[in-house]
Symmetry: C2
């Protein structure tokens, strides 16, 4: 038997809209994509700070809380990286269903993977933020020392070095993170996002 | 390289306690374990209804929203069932970190699997509800027709038939679901849980 045939829906009475009503907010996925060192997680953290202070319930998913927990069984092969993003997408969908505004900060280099996450939720619920930063700058910053290791051949398939980063065609927001401060980036994102997360 | 070495913590400013403050509630995992047909998901749904009406933000995880999404790659072998519970535990941990009260309704027949979920969160954050219902009654009810299939040999390793259900030694709550109504069960659980989820 397949999993599907072994489960029958229950039809619970409390729905996404009940939870949104309780929180007085519209849940969304704000998805940050970009190279390692582009500032995704830092900017997402600042956005979370601003939104929390304005009374919105947010949750930030990034490597810190996902790679050592839910996805600790996954490595960095192409297959595992896609599975990593798939699971993060599914978890984000559950959070949106729970009424929570999810900020997800992951390199997520492949268009197809990001597209599949977008397709998991309703139209307008997935907001893609492309944190655009030239590879040279990311490599100069190298906050985790990973580029150095990749150049030395100690990490294989490193995005930007020997694995592709597929630039988003039509992200909802693009941040040139080498040209603006973290605060400016967060402000721009909050300005865009706020009307969408406020309950009408 | 392992996943661990490839990630470096960011130290974001908004914490679990900020989110609990915002929601004015203490997040917990309320974990319902019991045989198929024991009423776990129905009782959990009723608890959610009561808590939502009292202003608590809850989220119910069960086969409906997990087996066809996050865990759709998993089957029903022992290994896959343990991985199913492991992932649900990790997702529950993220929800608790987000400030949300999670209700998780899964057969979760093995003590070891449940123990591992309990160990993922802080002491007192995991509340185990044993929905105790005699096998004969569950089999009589058979709301999904699964016992019939298991008896006919169409489903292998079915809990209670040809796979064990390990009774919890010290659940926080035990509900004899053949002896009380869904409403009574929910009321008892809410009475126990409420002082623990209220912010001091």
């Amino acid at each position: 038997m397949t999993a599907e045939k072994n489960t029958v829906p229950h039809g619970h009475t409390i729905s996404k809209s009940d939870r949104r009503e309780l929180l007085a907010q519209n849940s969304k996925i704000i998805w940050f994509t970009g190279l390692s060192g582009s500032g995704k997680s830092t900017i997402a953290g600042k956005v979370e700070e601003v939104l929390n202070r304005r009374g919105f319930l947010t949750y930030l998913l990034d490597g810190d809380n996902v790679r050592e927990g839910l996805n600790k069984d996954l490595g960095f092969t192409n297959k595992d990286r896609s599975e990593n993003i798939r699971r993060i997408g599914e978890v984000s969908r559950l959070f949106v269903d729970a009424g929570v505004i999810v900020l997800a900060a992951f390199i997520s280099p492949l268009k197809e993977d990001r597209k599949q996450v977008r397709a998991l939720v309703e139209p307008g619920e997935f907001l893609e933020v492309f944190v655009n930063c030239p590879l040279e700058i990311c490599e100069q910053r190298d906050p985790k020392g990973l580029y150095k290791k990749a150049r030395a051949g100690e990490i294989a398939d490193f995005t930007g070095i020997d694995a592709p980063f597929e630039i988003p065609d039509a992200p909802e927001i693009e941040i040139q993170s080498d040209k603006v401060s973290v605060e400016q980036a967060a402000e721009e994102i909050v300005r865009f996002v706020k009307p969408k997360i406020e309950l009408e």
